[in-house]
């Protein structure tokens, strides 16, 4: 074995390789397995490898000592540069390039790991890119860029392994030159190269031909391990100088993020390398140019027919083209945007090179979801889509094809509805929901539509109510039967929205309008004898004095006494007086009632549900009031709309709100009252019950109608959608 003189670079390189192969950590012998792997990775024919091993003396020794290893490496370099393998040439050949190795991912990772441990302080590490070069199955990708590829380089690009001393820029640049030519073609390689440059010191930031990224990288904070930045930046920058600022930005973001995420980076790199679907810049550029030939506006669409012609030229079977279309037409609009077109083209190319079409669109091919206003932005960020785990980029994961990518990237749930960004939607319910919200507000009329009350009961109830009612709500009720007639199972032909069903019983409203109605109505009859009392909004009945309530035994009498007085005063109270009597009959409970009434006196609002308790209490109040003497303000007419108005109204009209006068008269009428009270009470109770039922039925009806309305709206929207889609095909 002759002595071997190695340059510094070579020395370092070889020693690194040796370390790499030195799995047993003997520092003397490189493990055969690793060595052989390495030699295989050198991509030399096997007989050459055999020759090399022989020459270096390993076969003699049976193992690779350090010197054998070095010799072997040198021989590999010689062989790779095409020189005949001769021992003499070991030392004679000057300026031998470093041997090149193409290795698989795992090794790369291992190497990186090793790298970190050993070589932190080292200078530039031009290339564990070796390790990282992804192996697309069948290496179809390497060849696939038939048309666009200018120099399809069959071998993967040179990447010197691990480290290189700071003087390496030469070799490094050489490498770069070597693969920059075929750079665009070998997308994985490019990515690899980018990813691998681990640390990048300023000296190396110098001009690198054809690699615009390096300048952009130039001021990386020293000592920071951020391959990630390179990975991300390489593709965008190399092709589109305009993107430098953004890529710089990106790199800075990434750098700040990634300092501790070693494994993450490795993962990303490796996963990036695994991704055979990434589009290199040159590819993308080519696609863009092709796009331009069909559609000069880069933000516009290529219609389906044009795309069909174009892709048919590729001579792929129609079925596959159809499948490709399905994959790439992301928003299912029958036209291709730039992104979609690039994805489609990429898939076509892949298919032509022997790749199988994926079931789902790969991550890196998914169209950018943000506004496609800026074509540069588009291409850049789409490229980023492929590479970036950058937190800046957010894409929905349509296909979980890259699990490692998924981990690294912020995932956007498909459920995230990004209407404006065409996030993946199953063009069905989600879309329609969108339509829903868009359409409904735009057409307020529809919101009011009560198209099809199918059941008849509502009307019946309404009829009943209408009978009960005698006020002028007739106009509204008449409308309702109309809506009924509009019923048809196919309410698709949207009938002119019938006016909303009549408000049931203005009398039932809570507002005081009812009472006002009545009071005003009553007013008109007696003229204006006491306008003061009428105009007066129903005042809150004065709280019953506790003393009053305590008068239990006398309470009954008092109650009874006052009740008649109430009747003429307030038609409402007339009814309550019956409850009064009712209450009176329950003497023992009068006390609690009185108390209750004191509480309830103030907010004497009629809540239907309170029903009789309230009435009782209010009645009690009234009575108490009555007993307290002449009531100053007319007792609040309790908003008891439960009363059938017809019952009340006659009383109203009869008695009129002549409150003060009435008080005197009440006592006189006392004896006659109890009898009528009983009858009235029952009637009132019955009517209350009826009204309550009506109410619940109406409420139910309302909710059902609402539901129907919603359904119909949905139907309508779906129909409209179908219409849209059917229209061009109407000739079919």
């Amino acid at each position: 074995m002759e002595s071997l003189t190695l340059t510094d670079i070579e020395q370092k390189y070889y020693s690194d390789l040796f370390v790499y192969c030195d799995t047993d950590n003997t520092k003397k012998v490189a493990s055969n397995g690793r060595v052989l792997d390495l030699f295989r990775a050198a991509q030399l024919p096997s007989e050459v490898v055999l020759q090399i091993t022989e020459l270096c003396g390993a076969t003699r020794l049976g193992h690779f000592g350090r010197s054998q290893f070095y010799i072997a490496l040198k021989l590999i370099a010689i062989a790779q540069s095409g020189l005949p393998l001769r021992v003499e040439s070991l030392n004679s050949v000057k300026d031998l390039p470093l041997p090149r190795f193409v290795v698989g991912k795992n090794e790369a990772e291992a190497r990186h790991a090793a790298l970190y441990q050993d070589t932190d302080s080292q200078g530039l590490y031009p290339a564990s890119a070796t390790a990282v070069i992804p192996r697309p199955p069948g290496r179809g990708l390497q060849n696939k860029k038939g048309p666009p590829s200018s120099t399809p380089e069959p071998t993967s690009p040179v990447v010197s392994p691990h480290q290189s001393p700071p003087t390496s820029p030469h070799s490094w640049r050489k490498h770069k030159r070597q693969h920059s030519g075929g750079n665009a073609d070998r997308q994985p390689v490019v990515a690899a190269t980018g990813a691998v440059w681990t640390q990048f010191r300023e000296p190396q930031a110098g001009p690198v031909p054809g690699e615009g990224m390096w300048p952009s990288h130039s001021p990386p904070p020293p000592g920071q391990e951020s391959w990630v930045s390179f990975t991300a930046d390489t593709p965008p920058s190399s092709a589109l100088p305009a993107m430098h600022p953004s890529s710089v930005q990106e790199s800075t973001t990434i750098r700040t993020v990634a300092s501790a995420a070693t494994t993450n980076e490795i993962q990303r790199q490796s996963s990036g390398y695994d991704d055979p679907w990434k589009i290199t810049d040159e590819q993308r550029q080519y696609y863009i140019n092709q796009f331009k030939t069909i559609q000069p506006d880069l933000t516009g669409f290529i219609p389906g027919s044009a795309a069909k012609e174009f892709f048919t030229k590729s001579k792929l079977p129609i079925l596959e083209l159809s499948h490709i279309w399905e994959l790439s037409d992301f928003d299912k609009d029958g036209a291709l945007t730039l992104d979609e077109f690039c994805a489609a083209f990429h898939l076509v190319v892949a298919r032509k090179n022997g790749y199988d079409l994926p079931e789902k669109l790969p991550e890196s091919l998914m169209p950018k979801l943000i506004d496609l206003d800026d074509s540069a932005e588009v291409s850049e960020s789409t490229a980023d889509v492929g590479y970036s785990g950058s937190p800046v980029e957010v894409t929905p994961n349509k296909s979980p094809s890259m699990p490692s990518l998924n981990q690294a990237w912020p995932e956007m749930n498909q459920s995230n509805e990004q209407w404006e960004t065409f996030s993946e939607r199953s063009s069905s319910s989600q879309t329609l929901t969108q339509f829903d919200s868009n359409i409904a507000p735009a057409d307020p009329d529809t919101a009011i539509v009560h198209p099809v009350p199918i059941r008849m009961t509502p009307s019946k109830i309404h009829m009943q109510e209408m009978e009960l009612k005698r006020t002028g709500s007739g106009e509204t009720t008449s409308a309702f039967p109309l809506s009924q007639s509009g019923t048809s199972p196919e309410a698709l032909k949207v009938v002119a929205p019938p006016p909303p069903p009549p408000r049931p019983h203005p009398s039932h409203s809570r507002s005081s309008s009812l009472d006002m109605n009545r009071t005003f109505a009553a007013t008109s009859a007696p003229g204006q004898p006491q306008p003061s009392t009428i105009a007066f909004p129903p005042a809150v009945p004065p709280r019953p004095l506790p003393t009053q309530a305590e008068v239990a035994p006398g309470g009954g009498a008092v109650l009874t006494t006052t009740s008649p007085q109430q009747i003429p005063q307030q038609p409402n109270f007339a009814d309550f007086s019956q409850f009064q009597a009712f209450a009176a009959s329950e003497q023992p409970s009068s006390l609690p009632e009185a108390e209750k009434s004191s509480e309830g006196a103030g907010p004497l609002r009629t809540v239907k549900s309170d029903g009789q308790a309230d009435e009782r209490s209010s009645a009690t109040v009234n009575s108490a009031k009555g007993s307290s003497g002449p009531l100053a303000p007319p007792p609040k007419p309790v908003r008891r709309r439960l009363k059938s108005e017809d019952e009340l109204r006659p009383e109203d009209e009869q008695h009129g709100p002549q409150k003060s006068n009435v008080i005197a008269a009440v006592l006189a009428t006392q004896p006659s009252i109890p009898r009528s009270v009983g009858k009235d009470k029952k009637a009132i109770q019955a009517s209350i019950r009826r009204n309550k039922e009506t109410n619940t039925v109406l409420a139910r009806l309302n909710s059902e109608l609402q539901q129907q309305l919603k359904d119909l709206l949905e139907e309508r929207i779906s129909l409209e959608v179908q219409l849209e889609q059917l229209r061009p095909f109407s000739h079919l």
Binding site: G304, S305, A307, K308, F311, T312, I318, L319, L321, S322, H323, W325, E326, D329, K332, D333, G334, E359, S426, S427, S428, S429, L432, P489, E490, L492, K493, D711, E715, S718, L719, Q722, L723, Q725, L726, R727, F729, S730, L732
Partner: protein, 109 residues
């Protein structure tokens, strides 16, 4: 639960038919064809009145429980149609469509 899904072309031949294989498929096919008669009936009944296109949608011939299903199916069908490589009249050979149909058939309702 849909046991059979079929897409029939205008010329009354099926563009796509799939059924849960456990049953006698032939029976399903017959049913499908008889349902075509219903469709035809409706078409003839509608006449020429209003705009054609609106009439083409005959509504759900069946209670609305399957409403969602039909909509989904229709959406996937339109997606297939949108594909410029798909010639109308060809049997439908779309994986996505298949996927959706299988999904519909398997799931309950």
């Amino acid at each position: 639960m849909a046991v059979c899904i079929a897409v029939i072309a205008k010329e009354n031949y099926p563009l796509y038919i799939r059924s849960v294989p456990t049953q006698n498929e032939l029976k399903f096919h017959y049913t499908v064809h008889t349902s075509l008669d219903v469709v035809e009936e409706k078409i003839s009944a509608v006449g020429k009145s209003l705009g054609d296109q609106r009439e083409l949608y005959l509504g759900l011939l069946y209670p609305t429980e399957d409403y969602k299903m039909f909509r989904k199916l229709h959406n996937s069908f339109t997606d297939v149609m949108c594909n410029p490589f798909h010639n109308p009249g060809d049997p439908i050979q779309s994986k996505a469509f298949d996927g959706i149909v299988s999904g519909m058939m398997v799931q309950t309702g």
